[in-house]
């Protein structure tokens, strides 16, 4: 445990323009340990990681690797010193095979100088076997692999470069529970082989299960580094946010009213089959299910992105045909999508422009945009959802994940929806913003909005929902009231296949 650190950073500082994102942060990694790095979005974790992997140069501070001071100019320099990174957005080439990706940039050569494909494939096979992934085909194109498989390819790639330090940036953000377990066992194995691992994650359970030490940074400054045995979850959360958070899932009681959305025997392809449910005013209906169970597809069908082929949708008791998102919006349906960067936001545009994007008719007279009205509404939204920003004319790409998500929610609240569909509303969002989003949901149901919430995080589903709808294989496999919703019951329904009796 007390081995000398392999890599050690002292007093690292970095500024972008006038913004001081890191202030004299200390950090080190020892061989054979998992060192968790914690902090809210925007705290400076990414910047720190990027310095270690050679993407950014520090303004100040000393970085020593294996006892000698280094000055990385590129990721190649970092790789040469045995530091490899597995990024949140995986950086593989989808059209190339697994083996080609693993050795990309340092292919072994034959004596004739050509690439030695036999060795490439054998070594890749070997690396994957070390990661307990005998099912991964070295000749498969990366685009055919699941996210979890791609991640193991990334890890194999790092090992192929003889990595001594592996930096993992939110490796479980887009994994389902079973893959998370598998990844954790891979991480433990690497640790036992003496690799030092920097583990960035928002999920406390993983950190307590994996980490040996934990470092918390807040607003670019080092808060504490401690052994995991010396702290509990509440300590870490209050270190991260600088205040204590009452409850992660503040379920507020709201009056549940008459049905607002009724779905009957909805069909659309094999991931939306014969789905029926009712959603009432002031209710939060959680949708649980594994990735690929058809949760998002159901949302896209209700939102008109992929219109239903069969079945009925009723809004306020009236039969409606939802043929496009525009139509869905006009009917009072809002959808906060799963992929914030791609589907939720126009990132190069400003907060103001994003907030009014779905409701341009409300901020224009005829065809002309009214600048004053638009600014007023955007300011109002920023205040109401406490979006942290310099000004409403700031581009949303500059905001942290949680604040970006609030901008998407603000955009849809501008439409005054009756039904708000939230798809993974708190994915990639830090604990502080997460609690805020949950309290926004509480406010909305009090005002009579009906919420359909899709989430992969079971505690969130159980904590926030009045009822839970469980999907598997494109069908509803369970509808469970709040009082009866236990992790076991929901979990069982998630993996169930609908039997003939329940299918009528």
């Amino acid at each position: 445990m007390s081995a000398a650190p392999y890599a050690s950073l002292k007093g690292m500082s970095k500024s972008f323009g006038s913004v001081n994102v890191l202030k004299a942060v200390d950090f080190d990694v020892r061989p054979g340990e998992v060192h968790a790095l914690l902090g809210e979005n925007g705290a400076g974790k990414s910047t720190l990681i990027k310095m270690m992997s050679g993407l950014y140069k520090p303004d100040e501070g000393a970085f020593t690797v294996d006892g000698e001071e280094v000055n990385f100019n590129s990721t190649r320099d970092a790789a040469a010193k045995g530091i490899a990174t597995v990024y949140q957005e995986l950086l593989l080439f989808p059209e190339l095979s697994v083996a080609e990706n693993v050795f990309l940039g340092n292919y072994p050569r034959t004596s004739a100088g050509t690439i030695d494909w036999k060795t490439v494939r054998e070594k890749t096979r070997d690396l994957l076997d070390q990661l307990d992934s005998p099912e991964l085909d070295v000749d498969a194109k990366v685009l055919t692999l699941s996210v979890a498989q791609r991640q193991r390819v990334e890890i194999a790639k790092a090992l192929g470069k003889k990595a001594r330090i592996l930096i993992m940036d939110e490796p479980t953000a887009s994994l389902v529970e079973s893959d998370v377990q598998r990844l954790m066992s891979v991480v433990r194995q690497l640790r036992d082989r003496g690799v030092g691992i920097v583990y960035v994650s928002h999920r406390m359970a993983e950190i307590f299960a994996l980490a040996d030490r934990v470092t918390v940074i807040r607003d670019g400054a080092h808060v504490a580094t401690c052994d995991i045995g010396d702290v509990d979850e509440d300590d870490l959360v209050s270190m991260m946010v600088g205040r204590s958070i009452e409850s992660l899932f503040p379920k507020q009681e709201a009056n549940i009213g008459e049905p607002v959305l009724e779905v009957r025997n909805l069909h659309r392809g094999h991931l939306v089959r014969d789905i029926s449910f009712t959603l009432r005013r002031g209710e939060i209906l959680g949708i649980a299910g594994l990735v690929g169970s058809g949760r998002t597809e159901l949302a896209l069908t209700i939102f008109g992105m992929t219109p239903a082929r069969e079945g009925e949708i009723l809004i306020d008791g009236k039969l409606v045909a939802i043929t496009s998102p525009t139509r869905a919006r006009d009917l009072g349906i809002a959808y906060v999508p799963e992929d914030r960067g791609l589907q939720g936001l126009v990132k190069p545009m400003t907060i103001k422009q994003n907030v009014t994007m779905a409701t341009m008719a409300n901020v224009s007279s005829g065809i002309f945009l009214k600048a004053g009205e638009e600014a007023r509404r955007a300011l109002d939204a920023v205040r109401r959802l406490s979006i942290r920003c310099r000004e409403i004319d700031q581009t949303v790409s500059e905001l942290s994940g949680g604040n970006q998500q609030k901008v998407v929610i603000a955009k849809w609240l501008e439409t005054v929806p009756k039904v708000l569909i939230l798809d993974e509303p708190t994915r990639g969002v830090d604990v502080g913003a997460k609690a805020e989003i949950h309290s926004i949901m509480g406010e909305l149901v009090k005002q009579g909005v009906a919420i359909l919430m899709i989430s992969s995080e079971l505690p969130e589903v159980l904590g926030m929902s009045d009822r839970v709808l469980v999907m598997s294989g494109g069908q509803v496999t369970g509808e469970i009231d709040r009082a009866d919703a236990t992790p076991e019951r929901v979990g069982a329904a998630m993996t169930a296949h609908r039997t003939k009796e329940t299918a009528e």
């Binding site: 496009s324 525009t326 589907q343 936001l345 224009s364 002309f368 500059e398």
Partner: protein, 315 residues
């Protein structure tokens, strides 16, 4: 903040234009005269109309390569409708413009309904529409238009070339639309992130369809002005004009990836190119040299614009 809003591509471009005008004025005493400059305005109207429509198309991340062929087709049809079919000339022109607009609409349908990338769709119709024009013309040109028709392309109104008035009016209107309307906002949103635009309930398909139709319309109007200016109709008219228009748009700071660009930039880009072409030829530089210089100016302008972009943002 004030200062920052001035440091932008258009400002840099305007400075380049002023510099070019001054330098060229010293090279030839025939360059910086009212009559020469107005005449250059006359010459750049057709490209200008097309470039203004192209600014919208490129701002959505698209492109329209077929405009030159539409111009040729409409020119031929104007002549054929009037000369061979015997329609009165105003109706012949309107009918031809209608066909050209429909040609643009056809581009829009291919792109939005069938999901063909704009580059490929309009590359195909570039060949298709040009082929149609050549087939219809049978290599014969139409001449002998009535005298009143030349008011459009060869005469002045209040001392300024007629078509230059049209270009200026279109530039002002298009500029206002792109900058201040919900429609302009939609164009930028589509160009920046088409998926998110669709997820925000914007009419992505309708907007794109309208833009390609408008691009066809602009090329058609340019065709009639072209015919009036050169007094004759040939099927090869307007070939290559799409590249001149795209050059002006890109020089004007519109991002080829979409999401960024202004009509003002395009108009300055247009003036700069025209000034260089004319000024250099008056100064005795050969045509090849002029083209090379325009290429160099384009690269210089884009590099400078990238530097401004970077200094303004983090990362």
């Amino acid at each position: 903040m004030k200062l920052k809003s001035l440091i932008r591509h258009e400002t840099f471009l305007a400075l380049m234009l002023v510099t070019a005008l001054i330098v060229l004025a010293f090279q030839s005493d025939r360059f910086f005269t009212v009559s020469n400059l107005l005449n250059q305005g006359r010459l750049m109207t057709e490209v200008g109309l097309i470039a203004i429509a192209m600014t919208f198309v490129i701002a959505t991340g698209g492109i329209d390569l077929s405009v030159g062929s539409i111009l040729g087709l409409v020119a031929i049809l104007t002549g054929v409708f009037w000369n061979n079919i015997g329609l009165p000339l105003p109706f012949a022109a309107i009918a031809a413009i209608f066909v050209g607009t429909m040609a643009g609409f056809g581009n829009g349908i291919i792109i939005t309904r069938f999901g063909v990338p704009p580059l490929i769709a309009t590359l195909a119709t570039l060949a298709l529409y040009r082929g149609l024009a050549e087939g219809i013309s049978q290599a014969r040109s139409v001449r002998g238009y009535p005298d009143w028709f030349y008011v459009l392309g060869q005469r002045d109104v209040l001392g300024v070339p007629t078509q230059l008035w049209i270009l200026m009016a279109v530039a002002v209107i298009a500029s206002v639309i792109l900058a201040y309307t919900t429609w302009g906002r939609t164009v930028y949103a589509i160009g920046s992130n088409e998926v998110a635009s669709r997820f925000s309930g914007l009419s992505v398909e309708k907007t794109k369809l309208a833009l390609y139709t408008l691009s066809g319309f602009a090329a058609s109007v340019a065709a009639v002005i072209f015919v009036s200016r050169v007094s004759t109709t040939r099927s090869d008219m307007g070939s290559g004009i799409e590249l001149d228009a795209i050059t002006a748009v890109v020089l004007g700071g519109t991002s080829i990836y979409g999401g960024r660009g202004t009509v003002l930039g395009t108009v300055i880009g247009l003036c700069l190119i025209q000034a260089l072409k004319n000024g250099l030829s008056l100064a005795g530089v050969k045509g090849d040299g002029t083209i090379m210089l325009i290429g160099a100016v384009l690269i210089l302008a884009i590099l400078a614009s990238n530097i401004f972009e970077r200094s303004g943002t983090r990362n």
